[in-house]
Symmetry: C2
Subunit: 333 residues, 2 copies
């Protein structure tokens, strides 16, 4: 199924994630801290944990913690720990995602399930998740653990909704945005908010940071979903095209289904259910991809509004948001 | 494989878990609180959570929290929340266990994976676990969340070790006890200790409570493992015999392997690897079951020693421990 999907799409060349040298140096330290977590596990589990953590990737969530931390008042040990914690929760969720999607490639390496099978991968995800929450409970401010636990629970709820709605052709775009908010928005929200909490900033700034993180997370997930539809495995370093195969109708698909004339929408429905390779070009022709990227740009516009309130003295968050917007706009073409 | 295993063993009729009327009434309240947790989830997830929580069972861990709570100074809202939290973590781990074991029956009902498949069950376990930890972070004393997160991480590490050592005929009984301590001992330890922490009891009493819970948990897991080998599905309400099929060599197996004369041990090894139905009688004849139950009795003897230090004014913990010992002794024959 879907083996003949044409994924050729002109991809923009904007290097949207370009940390400042200062941030890059700090991210290297965070990377070392992330890898160091493996040594905290029982000797029998350490090797697996190390492989799972060595995957690398952009570490976008830790970067967001650091940028928000700098905007809120500077980097502290707690901020650095927080950067590690959000990444642990994220990596744990990726491990379980890959189990459920039977994905073989992640960040250009074999996934845990491809390497060690389902059983160990389920347990490894559990262990990383528990470890992340344990680290959170060790921070002095008990509110941090509360926020991380809440975001983690939301993430799980979002994943449940997503699984439940698989192959549901009646899913609305509102349903999609609700589940994306839980699945991805919540952890980005915590990553942006908690630094303001640690620096005891005003409730107004905290709330703006919450909102900023949430919009950014939603926009990022929409981008990730568009990439799954149109990218190639080589470009992204992970197994793509799994959403369609697994019946996860993302925003481009849902938009196309809901805006195409009845007869064409019916054809698309049939193509989706049969796993027909023509569906991606149908979705693109229906403007599903353009609509989704525009939605992401709009979300980032609201995020920029939040930046006015939260205060972004060094402009890091502003630059990140604008580069992402530019990237989406060029892609949209 | 193992379809012809003879599991006929004379089982004692000791009703070892017989809560006082006061405890029974309180456990009913806790049960209602456990079920109430389902309503805390997103509407799309609520039904699944409700099924998972309705399974019932003895609720031994909540009972331990309540008994320890009474010994430490009485029942409070925090103690009741703690009883719910430890059960949520336990239920989450059972859901993942059943996924990994492909078990179909749990507490005489269809398991989540039998009902809804692997994907939803993995996510449901994650969500319950995250919810339990979230509840823990809401308690006033931040130390509670720390203890629960630590116990949860240990539980995951124990499960990883168990999976890693499957079919490992060179596993020692010490390895087994180490992993059982992580897998089961740690959560019992937290269930017994945290009430003493909430009541701000002395470090000496807390330490004794920790040790008591740990020994009790180890003894209980040994019993559970013996049951998997010798019980019937009808009696226990869950799919049994999965340990042998999955290559989990528990204490009776390991003891038999290590004490039988070389030639017989070799035959047992071959039987285990081939899935030969005669192995259970071989293990029994080698004294593996008797040895394991005796080990459990010894652990409970040490737990009784801890009771002298922690103080058990109402004698509930003493009665529980002695009834379990009596149960194991009668079984041992």
């Amino acid at each position: 199924m879907f083996s003949s999907i044409s994924r050729k799409v002109l991809r923009p060349r904007v290097d949207w994630f370009r940390p400042t040298p200062e941030l890059e140096a700090e991210l290297k330290q965070i990377e070392a801290r992330i890898l160091h977590q493996a040594s905290q596990f029982d000797a029998g589990a350490e090797g697996y944990v190390r492989h799972a953590l060595e995957g690398g990737g952009k570490r976008l969530r830790p970067a967001l913690v650091l940028m928000a931390g700098k905007a809120a008042g500077g980097w502290s040990e707690s901020i650095r720990d927080l950067a590690v914690i959000v990444e642990l929760v994220h990596v744990a969720s990726l491990i379980h995602d890959d189990v459920l999607d039977r994905a073989e490639l992640r960040r250009s390496r074999a996934t845990c399930n491809a390497k060690w099978g389902t059983e160990l991968s389920v347990l490894l995800g559990d262990a990383l998740f528990a470890h992340g929450l344990q680290l959170a409970t060790k921070l002095e401010d008990a509110e941090v653990a509360r926020k991380i636990a809440e975001a983690s629970r939301n993430l799980c709820e979002g994943e449940i909704l997503q699984t439940q709605r698989r192959f549901d052709l009646k899913m609305s775009t509102a349903d999609y945005l609700h589940l994306v908010g839980l699945k991805t928005g919540a952890l980005f929200r915590a990553a942006a908010e908690v630094p303001f909490l640690l620096h005891r900033c005003s409730e107004t700034r905290r709330e703006a940071a919450r909102s900023f993180g949430y919009q950014l997370g939603m926009a990022y997930q929409i981008y990730d979903d568009v990439l799954d539809l149109t990218g190639t495995d080589e470009e992204s370093g992970k197994t793509l095209g799994t959403d369609l195969k697994k019946g996860k109708w993302t925003l481009p698909v849902l938009h196309a289904l809901q805006t195409l004339p009845a007869a064409e929408s019916e054809l698309l429905r049939a193509g989706l259910v049969e796993g027909n390779g023509e569906v991606v070009s149908k979705i693109r022709a229906a403007g599903g991809i353009r609509f989704s990227l525009r939605k992401a740009v709009d979300l980032l516009e609201r995020a920029k509004g939040d930046l006015q309130v939260l205060g972004d003295p060094h402009g890091d968050l502003q630059v990140l948001t604008e580069r992402l917007q530019e990237f989406f706009r060029q892609w949209e073409g």
